[in-house]
Symmetry: C2
Subunit: 274 residues, 2 copies
Amino acid sequence: MSLDNRADNRPIGVFDSGIGGITVLRELVKAFPNENYIYLGDTARLPYGSKSPETVRKYSVQNMKYLVSRDVKAIVVACNTASTQVTESMFEGRPVYNVITPGADLAVKKTENKRIAVLGTRATIRAGSYTKKIKELMPEAQVFAQACPLFVPLAEEAWYEDPVTNIIAFRYLQNLKKAEVDTVVLGCTHYPLLKASIRKVFGNYVHLIDSGEAISQELAADFDRDHVKMATNVDKSYLVVALTDHSEQFENLSNELLCTVMTGQIDFETVSVI
Amino acid sequence: MSLDNRADNRPIGVFDSGIGGITVLRELVKAFPNENYIYLGDTARLPYGSKSPETVRKYSVQNMKYLVSRDVKAIVVACNTASTQVTESMFEGRPVYNVITPGADLAVKKTENKRIAVLGTRATIRAGSYTKKIKELMPEAQVFAQACPLFVPLAEEAWYEDPVTNIIAFRYLQNLKKAEVDTVVLGCTHYPLLKASIRKVFGNYVHLIDSGEAISQELAADFDRDHVKMATNVDKSYLVVALTDHSEQFENLSNELLCTVMTGQIDFETVSVI
């Protein structure tokens, strides 16, 4: 625990099954550069999108316990599939932020015509959590859900601005475009990497809801009302990236995605969470 | 153990991380319709392609122990990533067939110009097992290896004969085409599902080496020399598909792939191998 009443330099814990949550971490680091972070990537067991709810729940609890053992002050579930199975707002005394609630909140704030699309992995779409949450907040909303299974491997190939990605995006999204949605929830943490192709289908006037941005806004509100205390690091914040299986591809990709926003040290570790 | 000296009705055990090995199973069932089979799909921990060699080895041994506990007479490692980590030819008294050796053997038999391409996941290509094996059998061969990470999700989308798959195949394979290979090893068990697109790039005169066909030829040779005894089932052979995580998509896809070759009963089970 922090000895300073006004500050808490313990890290913010973030977990995902793999690399996708780095897009959430990137938005957090951009919004709160003085915080310390520990990012847990469960690379030994990725992806969660194809696993059963029970298995995803079990893995998520193991990941949260691991983060607690590293003395985090808050837990960010930076994985949409895991977020469907982690519904508690506190875990062992730490506030928990999943990506569903802030994403749904922001979508409802942004939409004008109340026609909202939700994109995600098969598991996220099947779970229907975004649709349920959006309908709770705005019962009159029309929600159109679409699974986009090829988006994750396309992001991992780094085919970000690429004709192949454009064609596949068009195939997955053309019916949503016809449905005249004005707001699109990027319901998988990999998808912000494909924003350019997704925007090509929908045009410039659609709101793309990025979980990382949404969660940062929620955390900012909690800092404001002192629900979580801010850190006081200046020029010495750190990031530990803990992976359950060593992956060079992961290290390269996360270095590439974080180098423009992270000024402090990034350390990589291989850990066991079981 | 079989009481009949001339026959052994115990099942042949086949395992893969997921659905891909079903293409191997399909070839086995086509070649040996009187045999019984147990197929283990480690769906809770798929895919293996992105995991470290140590983790893949650990999971493979757990899978083989599980198959032994189901009293199989032989073990087929129907997963290229696992095959790079299972090099033994016997496991607890049962002969083990990995997909690398038969695939390399068949490629060397088929090639005329001694220019061979190997396609696979990142992990299979990085491990270099096919290249090593082919070079062992034919030191003067030129081997061109190419990772094709999008092929697995394309096969899982069932975009088998599809312009998008054609474009992606062309992107991955155009340099191999220019290199004038005459034989192409489909070094991932999903890839036979994309044969049409792969053939479009290379043309009709290239030899596509399918692990399922290669392993069936090796098993046929072992039946001939009585290294493994055949079963005597007639019209009552069975197949058990045991999954470490329930998956409806898996059941549908494997039913679709097997319905044309399997006459007997297919039972699905969810099991734990740890």
